[in-house]
């Protein structure tokens, strides 16, 4: 139960997150185009790419906490709309929880996830069922915490988190948007995945995989 990963040498997890967003740029914009303005992938890719430049400009790749902080700040500076502050807050919450720690273990991961979600809730008003990234994020946090409470080890808890994140993301297809620009479409927003919920699942998946691969 005492498994953890070294934070200082794990900054590359953020580079992997950037790759995931860039690889899915067209897919995310396509989903957004169905019920939004079609720029989710473009905006996210723009912000995450700026983070890569900022990270590569440093003398050496920083640890995970600092890399997440760089990601948060570049998103806050680089992309406006709603995604800049929402993802900026999420990654800042994660980073602040990890700061000052050498090891990321199951308990600290749970704390960071909770702090990230809390930071998102402090800027946005969306709830589960509104067809937003919260439909991915909240079930993911809850499932992780439930797994830990039930005695699961770190990799099993992450697996539970990703399973719930995926189910939450897929649930947005049948939801009617109640917040954000897609709310204009009313019932016509049903039948299409939410772009924010999609990028959120992809990012959690990247984060989970990055941690689990380093535990092995």
């Amino acid at each position: 139960m005492n498994q953890g990963i070294d934070l200082k040498s794990s900054g590359a997890i953020v580079l992997a997150l950037i790759d995931i967003i860039n690889e899915n740029r067209a897919y995310l914009s396509e989903i957004d185009g169905a019920i939004g303005d079609g720029d989710h992938g473009i905006n996210m890719s723009k912000g995450f790419s700026q983070c890569r430049e900022a990270l590569l400009a440093k003398a050496e790749l920083p640890g995970l906490a600092e890399a997440l902080d760089t990601l948060a700040m570049t998103l806050l500076e680089g992309i406006g709309g709603s995604m800049g502050p929402l993802y900026g807050s999420f990654f800042m919450g994660l980073s602040e929880a990890l700061a000052g720690h050498a090891q990321l273990d199951a308990a600290l991961f749970g704390k960071a996830l909770a702090q990230g979600v809390e930071a998102v809730e402090s800027v946005g008003n969306a709830k589960v069922g509104d067809k937003t990234l919260m439909d991915t994020l909240i079930p993911a946090r809850d499932a992780y915490q439930a797994a830990i409470a039930g005695g699961a080890d770190f990799p099993a808890a992450i697996a539970a988190m990703l399973e719930a994140a995926e189910a939450g993301w897929r649930s947005t297809k049948d939801l009617q948007a109640r917040i954000g620009r897609a709310a204009r479409l009313g019932e016509r927003s049903i039948g299409v995945l939410d772009a924010g919920a999609t990028s959120c699942f992809l990012l959690l998946q990247g984060l989970g995989k990055g941690v689990v691969s380093r535990l092995a």
């Binding site: 303005d37 079609g38 720029d39 806050l76 406006g80 709309g81 502050p85 807050s89 917040i179």
Partner: protein, 332 residues
């Protein structure tokens, strides 16, 4: 669609180049091209007035940076909130040591980015207070005013608060004037056609020929109903009939009236509407003390009009008639 642009992804950047080239009294801040400020800002000893919002609403928001108006503005992508950093940089550019009033409209993205910007500003030791415009009546029912969007009434708020700050008002006084102005302002829009964001390349939404969307928002947010088009005089009655009972305005009130085209409605038609609005108000015993007609707050090339009515008192009438100079609003 035929357009006068260089590249659809760069319309905001290219517009800003033209704005600062044409207006030496305006400039971008040295470290953030998405902040436009008065060249003389910050004005020492004056409360700074800041706003910001998505592009595509020109002359809003940057067209209200000027003398006795707004000091600095954060500029977003088309119909998309500026970044938190841009709002923060605008606050810095406007801060003359007496605090900053950030006066913006009620949209999810703007609310979030301003909230984050205020955190940054507090960390930098600045004092920033906000007033959030929510003048659009059809966007939420009475009793739920906090959910309403901010539309062209924002201009009236910038005008009175800007005058108050220029006349030496404290941050408390400026905030109180801005809040009072928006609390006494009611607006409504009617949309007749959609608009195309250049980078998206397709219409944002659709309005059938021969139909009008009553209560439409500045980004095509849904109205309260879609109806067959009617005469300008009938539109005026619908619009006045929506805003008057909501405050409510009463007989003997003196008001400022702002009619704005949404981008593609000719000034001729805006004046045809004004004539109807003036008549409907006068029949309700309301006197127009300050009429404003023109493209004050647009939505790209959307066809349609908005009406905003501000119930004046002695203080607000003095502030709204105070001289000002900017791209969007001039008064001698």
């Amino acid at each position: 669609m035929n357009r006068v642009i260089n590249h659809p992804d760069l319309v905001v950047e290219d517009m800003l180049k033209g704005i600062v080239a044409a207006h030496p009294e305006l400039q971008a801040t040295p470290d953030n091209p998405r902040v436009i400020k008065r060249s003389c800002a910050p004005v020492a000893g004056k409360v700074g007035i800041v706003t910001g919002g998505g592009s595509g609403h020109e002359p809003a928001f940057l067209g209200y940076v000027g003398e006795n108006l707004v000091d600095a503005v954060a500029v977003g992508e088309i119909f998309s909130s500026p970044t938190a950093k841009s709002f923060f940089d605008a606050m810095k550019a406007a801060d003359g040591g007496q605090g900053v009033a950030c006066l913006y409209g009620n949209y999810a993205g703007d609310n979030m980015n301003v909230k984050m910007a205020i955190k940054m500003a507090e960390r930098a030791g600045m004092t920033v207070r906000t007033v959030v415009a929510n003048d659009d009546v059809p966007s939420a029912p009475k009793g739920d005013e906090a959910k309403r969007r901010g539309v062209a009434g924002e201009i009236l708020m910038w005008k009175t608060a800007g005058a108050c700050a220029a006349l030496g008002g404290s941050l408390d006084e400026v905030i109180a004037v801005a809040q009072k102005t928006i609390d006494r302002t009611r607006s409504i829009g009617i949309g007749l056609s959609s608009c195309v964001i250049p980078a998206a390349g397709k219409a944002n939404f659709h309005i059938e020929d021969g139909k009008m969307e009553v209560g439409i928002g500045h980004h095509g947010e849904p109205g309260t109903n879609v109806a067959d088009t009617v005469s300008a005089e009938q539109m005026a009655k619908i619009m006045v009939g929506t805003v008057l009972p909501d405050l409510p305005f009463g007989r003997g009130d003196r008001v400022a009236v702002l009619i704005s085209g949404l981008g593609a409605t000719p000034l001729m038609e805006q004046y045809i509407l004004y004539s109807g609005v003036e008549k409907a108000l006068s029949e309700a015993g309301v006197t127009v003390a300050v009429p404003l007609v023109g493209n004050f707050f647009t939505s790209l090339e959307m066809m349609g009009v908005t009406l905003s009515v501000l119930q004046l008192d002695e203080e607000l009438e003095k502030l709204i008639t105070h001289p000002c100079a900017s791209i969007g609003f001039n008064r001698k």
